[in-house]
Symmetry: C2
Subunit: 427 residues, 2 copies
């Protein structure tokens, strides 16, 4: 049912108390936005204001603050290998608590609200516990409540496998995915992602004093930024929003100022939108690999079998029939990547494998790059001017990423931001 | 479906891995039995032992320790009148956490287990949020899991209203009710109630050093004890067990020794089974009521309209056409009882109303009382010998209750226990 047209919900024959033309806003609140009773009451006031301004409102709630981490800790205390069906049953208690409290807090302000679990809200998924994918949304119960004039709170991050009738969780970024998918299924007008930062910046403001909040970012730039280490939104939600043309508004739950809109390009494209960095990866290098067909297939087949997420891949030019293959992976996958690689070393007839977590990936992202050749060369020169060595390079049409030593990351981000996005260029 | 015969589950056409004659034990664990990871692991070991001894096992789990109180506190922080649908949504997170952890802990010991919410387990209720009554149990999913060889964990205290599809909670003693009703619906052989005490005692062992654990108590004695203030089981679960002939075994989760069996009378009846006391009630007295027909109906009608639970009622003999009416209520109902009574005072043409929370109810319970007249007279004499004044008396065929000053309660319980259940009489 994902992808129903916006008009679809107005075909509902239920009695409409409010005008069928009332806009529908989906608001998603992250864990820090609902971390305690005070924050929940504050979110409730914002929801009520939105409702009273003449909108239908669907709220997607994450678990409060550290609840999920606390539940995971409990699970590791009772089980050596917690996971699967029961882990999802456990973790979904988190949103249940936050969404019920939020519904009560909204009710206390005189606006009727009802909370729905992922299952009750018709969020259907596949059966992959812990990393389920949304397969369809049966939005009739949400629509019915909206038609009755209620604010509807939906648990983020969770759904139900219609085959087994078991509860599932959507994995990292799952609450954003819930919000975007619901917006699509319900024909919502905008999906607001509330968080503890002001929006998307030209670089991490903790590193770069002159970093500026962006008023708008295109879907494609945001997709590249997500892949380049910007933690604000997972690529999966941005991709979903792009596919269904849903405008996302990433903004702070701590004040009323506008954040960053993510949508189709409207303005003339800037060459460089932002500088992103990522220090969560490690570099794996396989040395002395014979330069023969099928080597890469064997190596990355072995890694895929162990569910290692491989990001950048670089193969050096062959020297006397041997070459080095380097790739980056999440640091959390280092152990399984090393053992998977070591197991195929004899078969590859390679010399050995190194794993280095002291790396950083710095990236330039900007759709305007397409029409401005030479950005890559400029980037390499800026880094070189600072004496920063580049160990891997990867490019897309609108992104250039360089792997450098992690202890030079902050300096590299500042240098690139100063060069491409200087403070005086701010309008 | 409640009340299916025990043979019913063997009619299930699903493939039976285990013998259809395998006994089914339902075990209910209270909050103190699952209060932390250590206790959950300990409960898991007990469940696994029971399973490996050749039984099908269904476990009913309460929320961990103080979880429910903590959630209620959060609710009062965000809402001035928390309750209803959203309160039930909130509180049901508690069992979700404990049951998932317990299923993981059992799995860690090599026995497959699956947890089910009240809704998933087919616990259907009416729509009274916070105090729902179980109307039916659709046990097919539990039976299917049992037939597949799994231990099934069911959330206590919760169900679903099939009309609204909303989650409900069963109120005080709700997890016991879940366990007993499931035992009936699944045709279980015994329902074990695990708690933090060793069983049912002849008096509260914290007050009476010579109080003894009872090996057996009849349903009817246990019903009277529940009404007389024994907190170990609510009357509703005992009544349900009696109706369907389900043996209850109340026992400690902290050791393996037998507790107290609650079942139909087997042994010769003792005259007095136990001394119970209750200091949670208050006495309301309406003074100077004209002795006319219809007065009591008006008064108690007004109280019922405000959902005040009235326990004992005593009307003094008329003096010059006026009388006093006294009744006891839970202390938690004092405010609403007082306002409801004051509103009908003019209509009753009564003089006024007093509310006194400094009372205690002490009771003797024993089915053998039927054949031993004079127990009441003896009880009044024992209290009189200790200079303890009786302000209200109420009797059933197998119980005598006296209301006294709360500061004389401990002395009265000890005196009655010494007289009726002396230590030397222990076999």
């Amino acid at each position: 049912m994902i992808g129903r047209s916006r008009a679809a919900r107005h075909r509902n024959p239920a009695p409409l108390i409010y005008s069928a033309a009332m806009p529908l806003i989906v608001q998603k609140y992250g864990g820090t936005s609902v971390k305690d009773a005070d924050r929940i009451s504050s979110v409730a006031r914002r929801v009520v204001e939105t409702r009273k301004a003449g909108n239908d409102v669907v709220v997607v709630a994450s678990a409060m603050g550290d609840t999920t981490d606390e539940l995971i800790t409990l699970a590791t205390q009772v089980s050596s290998h917690p996971g699967g069906r029961e882990m999802d049953m456990l973790l979904t208690a988190g949103e249940r608590i936050s969404m019920a409290l939020l519904a009560m807090a909204i009710g206390d302000l005189g606006v009727e609200a009802a909370s729905l679990t992922g299952s009750q809200a018709g969020i259907l998924t596949d059966s992959t516990h812990g990393e389920a994918k949304i397969t369809a949304i049966r939005g009739d119960r949400v629509r019915q409540y909206l038609d009755e004039g209620l604010v509807v709170i939906v648990a983020g991050f969770q759904g139900v496998d219609p085959e087994s009738r078991d509860v599932t969780t959507l994995g990292r970024g799952g609450s954003d995915a819930t919000a975007v998918a619901l917006t699509a299924a319900l024909g919502g007008d905008v999906c607001e992602i509330y968080t503890d930062v002001d929006g998307v910046f030209t670089a991490d403001p903790r590193l770069v004093g002159t970093a500026r909040k962006l008023d708008e970012v295109s879907y494609e730039d945001m997709l590249e930024l997500a892949g380049a280490g910007a933690r604000i939104l997972m690529a999966r939600s941005v991709e979903f929003a792009r596919r269904f043309g849903i405008p996302l508004h990433v903004r702070s739950s701590f004040h009323d100022r506008a954040g960053t809109w993510i949508k189709e390009d409207a303005m003339e494209q800037t060459v460089i939108t932002a500088v992103a960095h990522d220090t969560s990866e490690a570099k794996v290098t396989v040395h002395g690999v014979p330069d023969q067909p099928g080597i890469a297939a064997k190596l990355f087949g072995a890694l895929a079998a162990e569910d290692v997420d491989v990001d950048m891949i670089v193969q050096n030019v062959s020297t006397e029939g041997h070459t080095d293959i380097s790739f980056t992976i999440p640091q959390a996958h280092m152990d399984k990547a090393k053992s998977a690689t070591e197991q195929v070393i004899p078969e590859l007839e390679a010399e050995g494998v190194d794993v280095d977590p002291t790396i950083a990936k710095v990236s330039l992202v900007g759709a305007g790059m397409r029409n401005h050749p030479g950005v890559a060369a400029d980037m390499f020169r800026v880094l070189s001017d600072h004496g920063i060595n580049i160990s891997m390079i990867s490019t897309s049409a609108i992104r250039i990423s360089c792997v450098i030593d992690s202890d030079r990351c902050d300096e590299a981000v500042r240098a690139l931001h100063d060069y491409y996005l200087p403070a005086e260029a701010a309008s």
